[in-house]
Structure formats: structure tokens, C-alpha cells
Symmetry: C2
């Protein structure tokens, strides 16, 4: 597991005002004046695959907005097993629990190359106190995270291995803008679905043989969503 590497850091809220995906991020509803209330640097960071942003139990000094890429939230059990409890993508926040002063509930690890904005917790606390514009935006994040977690239980942790893999692929596919999507390692698929690496591999290989899944290289793939949909219901 690699440590964090910072490729570039823009440092500052000025860039936020002109952010290309501002409509998607936490600060979408902020006014021009609100940005002037930001007194600590917001850094724009690039992480390579397998980078850990923070780990379970750690004090969270930052909240992270995903600009691009995929991030997994991993939770460890006392007995050593681990489970991926959620995936974060464009517009999602990692480390939300830090806003309440809690330590991290999970490890946050990039799956592929990821671009992330790192916002100091005090910045959000201050903005929250001085402007109400952030509240709706923040509540939508909580809401989205929660419904994501619920879906994870019902869709990815219910039914047989075949259905779970199919639902995961459909989930990854519909999240993507183009017709290809990031295909996780079989080990990660297993950790997401509560099945073994081998089981994930066997189902995946079967889908490929049937022509419903086509790997495109570089950890990307295409699926026949129609066919896979029929597997799940």
C-alpha cells in the first residue's frame, strides 16, 4: 500500500471559485463572499492507484472531495477480515465523519488514479457557522452516503454470488459517463460482495465467456447491461 504522493497543490480557495466541476462539489451553493471566509488552504491533489488518504481510527483533519477516480472505504474487523463498505466517485466526500470530530470509520484508498480536493475541517466548520448556504449541500452528501450504504446492503450483500457480481458490474457501469468503466481486481470485488476472490473470479470469467463482459485493458471494461440485468431479477 503506497503512501500519499502529492503531484500538484494549487493551494487556496481562489481556484475553487472557478472549479470546473463546482456544480458537483460541496461548495456549489457558496456565494463569492463566502469564499473570502476561507482562511486555510484547500489543496488539489492527485493520487496514484492504491494510495491511502487516511486510515481507520485516525483523527480526520481534512474532508476530501472526489474530482475524478474511484475511492474505496474499507472497514476492518477485530478478527482481521476486512470489507469494502462503499465506493466514492465524482462529487462524493470522504471523511465526512471528521466534521463531527470523530476518528475515521474506514480506510480510504484510491482504486485507480484519482484527483481529490482536500479541505481542512475547520474551513467547513467556519463556513457552516457563518453561512447557511452550505447546509443543504452538506445534508445532500449525508443523504447520498446513507442511501449508498443501504444500496450496498440490499444489492451487493444479498442473493447468490452470481447476482452480486452482476449488480456490482451494473453499478459500476451506470456510474460511468462513457460506455467503459473501472473493473476492480477480483480481490476487491470479493471484499465488496462478501465472497471469496475465487468466487468473484469464477463468475466474472463466466460472464466474459458469455460475451457479457469485455475487458478493454487498463483495468477498464464494457458490459452488456441488458443481459446482466436479467441475471439479477
Amino acid at each position: 500500500m503506497k503512501e500519499i504522493t502529492i503531484d500538484k497543490a494549487w493551494r487556496g480557495a481562489e481556484r475553487c471559485k472557478n472549479c470546473a466541476i463546482r456544480h458537483l462539489v460541496l461548495f456549489s451553493d457558496l456565494s463569492h463572499q463566502d469564499f473570502d471566509r476561507i482562511h486555510q488552504p484547500i489543496d488539489d491533489l492527485e493520487y496514484e492507484p492504491g494510495t491511502r488518504l487516511y486510515h481507520q481510527g485516525e483523527e480526520l483533519r481534512y474532508v476530501y472531495t472526489v474530482r475524478s477516480g474511484l475511492i474505496k472505504l474499507v472497514q476492518h474487523l477485530p478478527n482481521g477480515t476486512q470489507r469494502i463498505v462503499r465506493l466514492l466517485r465524482q462529487g462524493d466526500l470522504a471523511g465526512l465523519e471528521g466534521l463531527g470530530g470523530q476518528v475515521a470509520d474506514h480506510d480510504a484508498v484510491t482504486l485507480d488514479h484519482a484527483s481529490v480536493c482536500r479541505i481542512p475541517v475547520p474551513v467547513i466548520r467556519d463556513l457552516q457557522r457563518e453561512t447557511p448556504n452550505l447546509h443543504d449541500s452538506l445534508m445532500r452528501r449525508w443523504q447520498k452516503a446513507l442511501s449508498g450504504a443501504d444500496n450496498w446492503i440490499t444489492r451487493l450483500s444479498t442473493g447468490n454470488a452470481r447476482q452480486r457480481v452482476a449488480r456490482l458490474l451494473l453499478l459500476l457501469d451506470e456510474a460511468s459517463t462513457d460506455d467503459s468503466f473501472f473493473l476492480p481486481t477480483r480481490e476487491d470485488m470479493g471484499a465488496m460482495l462478501g465472497i471469496t476472490t475465487e468466487s468473484a473470479s469464477k463468475v466474472t470469467a463466466d460472464f466474459r465467456r458469455r460475451g457479457w463482459l469485455k475487458p478493454l485493458g487498463g483495468h477498464r471494461a464494457w458490459i452488456d447491461a441488458r443481459a446482466l440485468q436479467e441475471e439479477v431479477d
Copy 2:
């Protein structure tokens, strides 16, 4: 499934000020003046076991604070299977997603006899606009719900049936104040753990034979937490 029955309705915010468990509920941080901003009735309701507060897809006009009892949140899949994604108990909120204007993500159904405060969504919206005191309290609810969901995945949807049942019993036990706790039907246990009713029954019966679980009648039970803890790690 029974419809809602209202045994008593206190109607009004006056009672809230003197609520016996106010330190646990959403309005813990409100000032005396804040209560005067409440212009719609908050009803104190009693539900019998198996009552549905609302169902998935329904518009949420209220948020519900659990005063006592247990409530299950059930999510239905298109193929007809259903899964219990969370349990709510004293101090928890049902229908949080209604605050953002969304329809209900789940069915909310009482497991045992439950006492609940029903708060109109506009009341919370108004308070939120006029006083910042609610924000922390509300965020803690989101945070708690989310970590509850994460735990549900890692503890109750991971490992073999035996471990899952053990973890569920431990969870129900530690939530309880006295040394007894509510023991769900095997069917509900199955829906919580992603296993069949029969599997839940077989494990439960085995724990009983070993003396680690003692049913006390009236859907209540006692466990040897020490022994069960050893089963999970």
C-alpha cells in the same frame, strides 16, 4: 401487516420542553425560544408490534423520533426479496431522507411495542432556517445512521451464519439497558443477516442448547455475551 393505530396524541411542542428523554432526542439543543417557533403539532404516538410507519417510495411528511422500542428499516428489491438494512432504537430518527424532500428509502415497521414522536418535516425545516442549534444535533443523527449502516455491512453481512447470528445477538444485547433484550423472529433475523429463516433458527437453537441464549418469554432473551463474543473472532 397492521395499519397505524394512534393510542394517544399529546399534540404540541409544550410537552417537548419537558420531555423525559430530551437529552437523547433531536431537540436536545433547542432553547426555550426555539420551541415557540414550532407552529405545527408534534404528536406522541404509541404503536403496536408490526405497525408500518411509512413505506418505501412514499412521500415523507414527518420525521419520527424513537422514544422506546425497536423499528426495522426494510428495503425491497425489484425481484421481490427484501432485506432489513438497519434497526432504530431510542433517540434514532426514522424518515431522515424526508428532510431533503426525497421519498422514503424503506419501509419502517415496529418490531415490538414502540413509542414515537412524529415531527412534521416543515417544523424541522423552519427551525433549521431560524436557529443554528439544530445543525449539530441533526448532523450527529446522519453520522450515527451512516456508521450504523457501515456496521451492518461489516458485522452482520460478513462471515458465516454462526458469526452473523452471534454478532446480531451481541448488538441487540449491548443496545439494551437491562440484561434482557428483544429477540426478533427467525424470519427477521434472516432478513437482517442475509441468510434463510431455517439457518437463523438452526444457529439460534444451537446457542440455546449450549446455554448461551436463554429465551425469557415475550420475545425477550438473555445471552452469555462472553461466550458469544468468542464465536465472532
